[in-house]
Symmetry: C2
Subunit: 198 residues, 2 copies
C-alpha cells in the first residue's frame, strides 16, 4: 500500500511545529482525518488568519491585530518607562503577569555573531528615537539570561550611557517554587550575586 | 493587553490534536506566526486536502485517495484471506510490516455498550457479503486487546461459526524487546496462555 499523499503533506507541516517529531505529526494528520469538515475548515482558516491579521506594532514591535498595539494605544500606560525585550512573545509573557504599567520595545532578536545578527538588524535606532520623543526616564532590559541576551543587554547599557535615561536589568536568580538542589550552577551564582538585605 | 483573536482561534484548533494541551497549542500558534507565508499556505491547504481527497475504500473501508484502495486493487493479494481490524489506521500498521498478503476489512469501530455502538453501527453485514462473494477461506480477527476489542472478536467468531470460514485471532503476548519485569499481569497471562511447543 502506497502512502497517502495528503497525509504525507500534512505530516510534513505538523513536523515544522516545535517539539513535534515524525510519529506525532503522522498521528496528528490522521486525527485531522477524523475531525468533521467544519472543524478542519476552521483550523485551515485560523492558520491563514494568523498570518494575515497579525503584524508588528509600528511603535514597539509587539504583535497586534490593530494599527498599533493595545499597550501603545493605552493612554493610562506610563510611556516614560520602556521594557526592552528580544521577541514579541516576551511582551505577552509580561502582559500576563499584568503588573507592569509601562510600555515595551521589541528588539526583534539578540546580537549574535554566530547567526550573523548585528546592531543594524535590531530595532535599536527606533529605541533611541522613542527615548528622545517620549521623554523616557527608564529603560528596563529584559533579554534572556544567556550569552547572547547578556551581550545584547551590555551593548544597550553601554550605548545608553550617554543619555539621561536610567538603565536597569530585570533580576535573575532562583525561580519561585524552585529547589536549590536542582538549580544549575549559573542560576545559583546569579542568585548569590543578586542578593539583597532583608 | 487583550488576547490576539487569531492566536486564540488557532490555539483552539491545535488543542483538538491528540496530546496537545493549552500551553503547547499556544506555543504552536506563535510558531505559525514565525513561519513564512508559503509554509502557512501549504499547511492550511494540506489540512483541507486531507479531508477532501481521502475517503473510505468502498470494499474494505480503509483510507484511500483513489476509487478503491491499493490493497483491494492489487491483483496479487490473496482475496480469500481477510484481516478484520477496527479502524482504518490499523490497516496502515499492518501494511507497514509488509508481510501480510491478504486483504483487509475495517469494522469502523468496536462493539461498546458504553459508547452506544451496536452491531448495526459496524461494517459487519458487508463482511458477510464479502465472505460469500469472494469465496473467503480465513477471517483473521485483529481487534485491540481490550474489553471492547475482545467482545467484538468473540461476537464475530460466534456469528461466523455457521459459515465454512476458518476464524483466527492474532496472537497476544509479550512484545518483542519487552521485559518480563515491566509487563503487566494481563499481558503476561495472555503470553502464558498462548504458549507454544518449541
Amino acid at each position: 500500500m502506497k502512502e497517502l499523499k495528503s497525509i504525507t503533506k500534512l505530516t510534513d507541516s505538523f513536523q515544522r511545529l516545535p517539539g513535534i517529531g515524525h510519529k506525532t505529526a503522522e498521528k496528528m494528520a490522521y486525527q485531522v482525518l477524523e475531525m468533521n469538515d467544519d472543524t478542519v475548515e476552521y483550523f485551515s482558516n485560523a492558520l491563514k488568519e494568523v498570518k494575515q491579521k497579525i503584524h508588528h506594532c509600528p511603535i514597539c514591535g509587539a504583535y497586534t491585530e490593530n494599527d498599533i498595539c493595545d499597550v501603545c494605544a493605552d493612554e493610562s500606560r506610563d510611556k516614560t518607562k520602556v521594557l526592552v525585550v528580544s521577541y514579541p512573545k516576551d511582551v505577552i509573557a509580561f502582559e500576563k503577569i499584568g503588573s507592569f504599567d509601562g510600555v515595551y520595545h521589541v528588539l526583534g532578536g539578540v546580537l549574535s555573531s554566530v547567526n550573523g545578527v548585528g546592531v543594524d538588524d535590531l530595532n535599536i535606532a527606533q529605541l533611541f528615537n522613542r527615548i528622545k520623543e517620549q521623554n523616557v526616564s527608564e529603560v528596563i532590559i529584559a533579554t534572556n539570561p544567556n550569552t547572547e541576551g547578556e551581550t545584547t543587554a551590555l551593548y544597550l547599557a553601554k550605548i545608553l550611557e550617554h543619555t539621561n535615561v536610567k538603565v536597569t536589568r530585570i533580576a535573575y536568580g532562583l525561580p519561585l517554587g524552585g529547589h536549590l538542589e536542582y538549580a544549575d550552577a549559573l542560576t545559583l551564582s546569579k542568585a548569590l550575586e543578586g542578593r539583597k538585605k532583608i
